[in-house]
């Protein structure tokens, strides 16, 4: 009898909190549509290479020397190989060169003729990143060697200028793009988006929800009844995990149809991993929102947790580019663990053997934060 009564209470709480969420029209957009749009946008942006426009400043000698015409390599190159623009506009480009490449994407070079001083201004403004200078029959390349984009422009131009006829193979047979499932950017991105969704949804949904209910004095009113306090938090977390499950499933199904993504590893391990991530962030969320009743302070607290994790945990781009010493630390962050775990199951065919430890650590993290949060939790 008593047991049924408790279950009934828990069920009513869960139902009420679930209704609260699904009746908010924004939930459908931000929870479900937005991640899909993000994966669509980023997936397409990083799957097809767009045309790259490279702007180059050219400084030619004031007058042509009659004696050594072979030394005007740059001049010849521009006159012979490039399409000349006869526009009277001083700001317009003088020559244009299109390099077609179906794999790396087309490069379009615009050459602007100007003097050194102008070239420096353009360089400083970032309008051009390479300056070509014809000097004593040689072509000098002036650019910032630390700028990878400038380096790329230099390498492309250096390969072209001075070799007479330009040989460009429009279809590049030497480059074999990786299209194997699991190696594309979208395969990297979708697990990241799922992990990020779990974190964001727990932190904003649970933390913000609790702080708001505290500031509305609803928590205070609820605990003035015989309601079990733990039931309330369990209901709140259950509702959130259910929502996260639906949102992630929709995102995955979308990726399945739109990008032919597959789960190469163990699906049951994936579900456990997902659950462990939810528990971890639900626990952290309860801890973060255990005290304040000020939504502004809450905002700050949530951002303190969410923002560094977003930047460091390799959601959109690999964290391997961070300094070497920081990588072992980054790998121990909860969001990294979740992202890496989901990715390895999706793309590397991982199973329980590989993800058991992260699952345990994430679950323990959640339980520790939840218990600590409950200890200091302010209901009034």
């Amino acid at each position: 009898m008593n047991r049924w009564f408790r279950l009934y209470q828990l069920w009513q709480l869960t139902a009420a909190l679930f209704r609260e969420i699904i009746r908010e029209p924004g939930v459908l957009f931000w929870g479900i549509l937005f991640p899909i749009l993000m994966s669509l946008g980023l997936g397409i942006a990083f799957t097809k290479k767009a045309d790259v426009i490279r702007k180059v400043a050219v400084i030619l000698p004031n007058q042509k020397s009659e004696t050594a015409d072979s030394s005007f390599i740059l001049d010849n190159f521009l006159d012979l190989n490039c399409e000349k623009n006869n526009s009277a506009d001083r700001d317009a480009y003088r020559w244009k060169l299109v390099l077609k490449d179906d794999k790396l994407g087309n490069s379009i070079f615009f050459f602007y003729e100007m003097d050194w001083q102008q070239a420096m201004i353009m360089l400083k403004r970032g309008t051009v990143n390479v300056v070509l200078l014809e000097k004593d029959g040689n072509t000098e390349y002036h650019f910032d060697p630390l700028n990878p984009d400038a380096q790329l422009s230099y390498m492309k131009l250096n390969g072209l200028i001075g070799k007479g006829k330009i040989v460009v193979s429009e279809s590049n047979p030497n480059i074999k793009p990786l299209t194997v499932t699991g190696t594309r950017y979208i395969d990297f991105l979708v697990p990241g988006l799922i992990a990020m969704g779990v974190m964001m949804s727990c932190m904003w949904g649970i933390s913000y929800g609790l702080i708001e209910k505290r500031s509305k004095k609803l928590l205070r009113r609820l605990v003035a009844t015989p309601m079990k306090k733990s039931h309330f938090l369990i209901a709140l977390i259950t509702v959130r995990i259910t929502m996260n499950f639906i949102e992630s499933a929709v995102l995955f199904l979308f990726a399945l149809f739109a990008f032919k993504m597959v789960i190469q590893g163990d699906i049951s391990a994936l579900i456990l991993m997902f659950l462990a991530g939810n528990i971890a962030f639900a626990g952290i969320a309860v801890f973060v929102s255990s005290h304040t009743s000020n939504t502004e302070v809450g905002n700050g607290l949530i951002n303190v947790v969410v923002f560094p994790l977003m930047v460091l945990s390799g959601i959109f781009f690999s964290y391997q580019n961070f300094p070497g010493w920081s990588i072992p630390v980054i790998q121990k962050l909860p969001l990294t663990m979740l992202t890496d775990g989901i990715r390895s199951i999706f793309n590397e065919g991982a199973g329980y053997h590989e993800v058991a430890i992260p699952i345990l650590i994430l679950t323990a993290t959640g339980i520790i934060f939840f218990s600590a949060g409950l200890k200091i939790f302010k209901w009034h």
Partner: protein, 311 residues
Amino acid sequence: MVTDPVIEVKNVWKSFKTVQAVKGVDLAIPKGQFVALLGPNGAGKTTLVEMIEGIQKPDKGEITIMGKRWKGHEDELHRIIGISLQETRFIDKLRVSETLQLFAAFFNLGKQKVDEIINIVGLEEKRKSYVVNLSGGQRQRLAIGISLINSPVILLLDEPTTGLDPNARREIWDILQALKEKSETSMILTTHYMEEAENLCDYIIIMDQGVILREGTRQQLLEESTDEKVIEFSIENGLIPEDINSSGLSFTVHRDASGERGSVALKHFETDLPEFMAYLKSKSISLKHMECRRKTLDDLFVSLTGRKINE
């Protein structure tokens, strides 16, 4: 037969960082009594009620409900009291019936109770409405409905009608009046409306700055001064002199904030009135309007604190 009080408060003190909110309050409320805790904002009413509700803990003193302290009896006491906090907001997108159902579940009560409550608080037409779409008065009726859901032995309402228009206030009074007739519930209600205290409650406790100034039935409170008459007046030329009370009069004149109107309670009409008139004449003040009436609770509050309750 004298029964034990349902609520007993003994020498309770409570302070917050900068204020002494409650300074040594004693209360004993018998079964079935409706008590008004009357006082201006900041009098310590809410703090006192929240300590009785178990939400705040007193720094000093003891509170018992049905002979039990809060510590160790939370669950038991939560089952027998019904409360409505000052300005609670419920879940916006939950319907009226769903909100009641949620609270009913905490007491293991079902749909039948929900219907009964909706009926009592007159929200039949709004049962399917989202809480967010209710008017202020309807929201307050819902809050009272929730406080009544467990048929409480003790009802604690913190400013249930503050900010409501007269109609909405009247509807809440009707609900509570009906409750009083039908049940044996004891109630403490905080308010800063004299009218509410007078109309609804058997016993009135006047509080200000953390202490109880006077308490008793309406009759008792006014009795001690039945022979007092109050004169309200306004003057024709200029303002009431600010030093009027230091000019040797044998009674105190209350001057309102603007200085245009005043009131004075006179015990010995035959001698005080001529004295007052003589004073006015000596200052060449001419009366524009003057009215004599019986003393009310408002006047009692003014005479106790030197200011009006809603000032």
